[in-house]
Each structure stands twice: as structure tokens, then as C-alpha cells.
Symmetry: C2
Subunit: 234 residues, 2 copies
């Protein structure tokens, strides 16, 4: 403490933008804030950085606290640092966005936080600058998903191609040509066809697929182009 005298110490928080996909819409997990200020208003799940943990650890801790989930896709998004963003006390907040399998979540309990899933298109107003965080997270999700195969994180282990297409269409709020979409998808070599079929969506039924985990990891950094004209969505 000898050399950094006179510098300001500041509260550091993490806030998590948690995305899920229910088969129809892209959704956001929000909580009713349990303490002042802004108690009982809708908010992102968050928490303060402790002296003994890194930000990644803090984000994982916060995420687990709400969802019970570990080893989840979690990416540092941006630091928000407006001087008055928290009216109570100057706080900089590091936003993380998470992609989780919404069905994994449903088995967990988090009534403590009065958590609810909202479609992105009809979410309530959030406290502080959390709306900005969500906006940026959505933009980053579209950006990254247009280039890299990350949306699989939103799906259960087994999924169908129509299921996948619904998800992409939900994320980009548009429609894709299913023939071209299917071809591109299969040409990535990421999918392994299973024997069973999902008959919930049609009489013919759609084949289940699983991810080729090994190729999936390798191709995380590859540019894929599953989304035509991605610039349009930024």
C-alpha cells in the first residue's frame, strides 16, 4: 500500500446477460432486485467483485448462484463506467453474457430471486444502465454468432435442424431459406446424425443431431457464415 496512495478505490461489479432459447424466442433471464436502491425493480443478475477472486470467477459465481449451472458459455462483454450509473455509489460494472440451455435451467430453483424469462422483444425496463448492457449483448451475440458456432450453447445435447433454424431465426428476427441453411450447416461437419426422430413438429419427424464435440472445439475460431449478409443485422 506504499506506492498507490492517493488513488481512488472503487466498487467493481459484474452483471450477467443470460440468454436462453425456448424453441420459439430468444429469451433473457431477469431478476427482481432484492435490495436497495431500486429494490423490486427488474434487473440483471449481478454481484460485487471480491478481493479474492477474478472477474471470470465472480461472473461464474453469480451465474451459478442464480441458475445452479456451471461450465457455461460465458464471455466478458464490456465494462460500463458512467460515473453516476449507480446512484448509490460510484461502481464500475463488467458485463458478461452467458448462453445456457434453458431446459437445464428449468430444473433448477431460483425463486429466491423471483427470476423470470422474458422474450427480448418484450422485456421490462431495467435498472441503471442494464438496458444498455442488454442492447450491447444482443448486438455482440448477433455479431459473434454470424461468424462462429456459439448458438449451440443454447440447445440441449440433442436437437433437430428445424430446431436450429428456429433458433437462428429467433436471434436475427428474420427467416432463412431452409434448403441453403441446412446445406451450410451440414457442410460444417459439426453435426452427427442420431437414429431417433423428433415427431413433435411434424408427422414425418426430424432427425436428431448431436454436436461433434471435438470438431466443435476446433471450429470455435473458424469463420462459418451461417448467416447471409450478416452486416445487415449489426
Amino acid at each position: 500500500m506504499k506506492h498507490y496512495l492517493g488513488q481512488t478505490r472503487i466498487l467493481v461489479a459484474v452483471d450477467c446477460i443470460i440468454f436462453g432459447f425456448d424453441g420459439q424466442d430468444l429469451k433473457l433471464l431477469l431478476i427482481k432486485r432484492g435490495f436497495e436502491p431500486e429494490k423490486d425493480k427488474w434487473s440483471l443478475m449481478g454481484g460485487f467483485l471480491k478481493g479474492s477472486e477474478t472477474l471470470d470467477q465472480a461472473a461464474n459465481r453469480v451465474l451459478k448462484q442464480l441458475t445452479g449451472l456451471e461450465d457455461v458459455y460465458l464471455e466478458q462483454l464490456h465494462v460500463f463506467s458512467d460515473v453516476t450509473r449507480d446512484p448509490e455509489e460510484r461502481t464500475v460494472s463488467v458485463a458478461y453474457f452467458a448462453l445456457i440451455d434453458i431446459h437445464q435451467y428449468e430444473t433448477q430453483l431460483s425463486e429466491d430471486y423471483h427470476a423470470e424469462w422474458f422474450p427480448l422483444t418484450s422485456k421490462p425496463r431495467l435498472i441503471f444502465d442494464h438496458d444498455d448492457m442488454v442492447r450491447m449483448a444482443q448486438k455482440q451475440l448477433r455479431y459473434k454468432a454470424a461468424l462462429h458456432p456459439i448458438l449451440f450453447e443454447l440447445l440441449p445435447q440433442r436437437f433437430t435442424i428445424p430446431h436450429l433454424q428456429n433458433m437462428y431465426e429467433g436471434v436475427y428476427e428474420t427467416n432463412f431459406d431452409s434448403r441453403n441453411f441446412t446445406r451450410k450447416l451440414l457442410s460444417t461437419g459439426l453435426l452427427v446424425r442420431q437414429n431417433g426422430k423428433d415427431k413433435s413438429g411434424s408427422k414425418k419427424g426430424a432427425f436428431y443431431y448431436k454436436l461433434d464435440k471435438r470438431k466443435y472445439k476446433v471450429k470455435q475460431d473458424a469463420f462459418l457464415n451461417l448467416v447471409p449478409k450478416p452486416d445487415k443485422f449489426l
Copy 2:
């Protein structure tokens, strides 16, 4: 201060990874740290976040302090938060990377900091986790420059196409086919040919170009693909 009692306040710093291009190599502006700990070791330029400023403001302040430049390309990169990254006291640091016109800089004075430009390929070891920051910044620079026209920020207002190509080759440490490179570049519509020629590189001379500022701003978000097979460089 009523509701956030018991939380840890932490030092927040910004560090700037400052890139420049001298016509040959991609370079990094480093300083000799002027205070303890690690005094006189090579370091990124940085500073602590003040209570009255945002992180963007702090980064711009730090950058101006060293280079005298304002209105510079500056982008928040990542927060580094290892608990012991600064042995003196727990500090989280927000890394920013900056792209500046190295010739603009040369007219400035910053002997106070014993600043020097180093080629990325032969920089000294840096203090703390600054080497990690540089690595990530270089990766992000390659990533982003492969998709968006940001490298122009490294050039003076007037530049030639061979000049541009040298820069891209410096950033990616590889060679491009100049015919294809030129065509792609011109097809973006970003360049406006000037009358004069630069004869320093050849007897024939290469035409000067300027950026079409308006189109440049519009196309900042567009996907350009000036770099073939960009995945190879990530």
C-alpha cells in the same frame, strides 16, 4: 454509502496498447515505468481511474498524456483481474488498444516517459501481465482488421496502395498478392485517388489516395474481407 457496506473497493486502472506503423513494421509504444514497483522496467502506458471520469475518458487522458494526441481510435479490449497481477495491491486493469498515425506522434514530445517504439516481433518483456495484454491486443487487431477497415487509422491522410499493402502484410506477417489486394481495396469504394505520386518507393511512383470519410464511417461496420482466409491468423 448506506447499502453497499461490507463490499471491497478496488483500484481500477487503464492500460493502453498503442499501435503504430512506420511503413515497414507494426510497432508498439512502450514506456519506462517511472515509479515503484517495477520502476524503470518496460511497461504499457497506464493510469488509475479517477472517481470523476469514465474509463473511456481515463484511457483518452492517459493516451493524450503520452502522445499529445486526441480523437484517436481507441477501443476497450478486456479487463484483466488476476488477484495478484499487481504485487503491490489488488488492481483490476482495463486494457484499451489504440491505433495512431506514428508520424503525428513523432512531432510530439514525451521524453518524460522515456517512451520508445518497438516492433512487435522484438519487444522487451513487460511488467505484470502486460505481455498478455499485448498478445490479446494483437489478436484482436488481426481479428477486427480482417473484417473491418480500421487499419487506416495507422496511416497519414495521404497514402499509397503499396503503402497500405505493406501495412496489412506487417500486421499479418505474411504476403498478399498485390493484384488481388488492390482490386479488393478499390472495390470497397473507400479510396479517392489524388493527383500526386509518391516516388520514394519506385521510379514510376505510386498514386496517393485519401479516404472517403463519409463512406469510411458508413462502412466501419461492414464486413470487408481484405484478408484471405482470416481464420489462419487467429
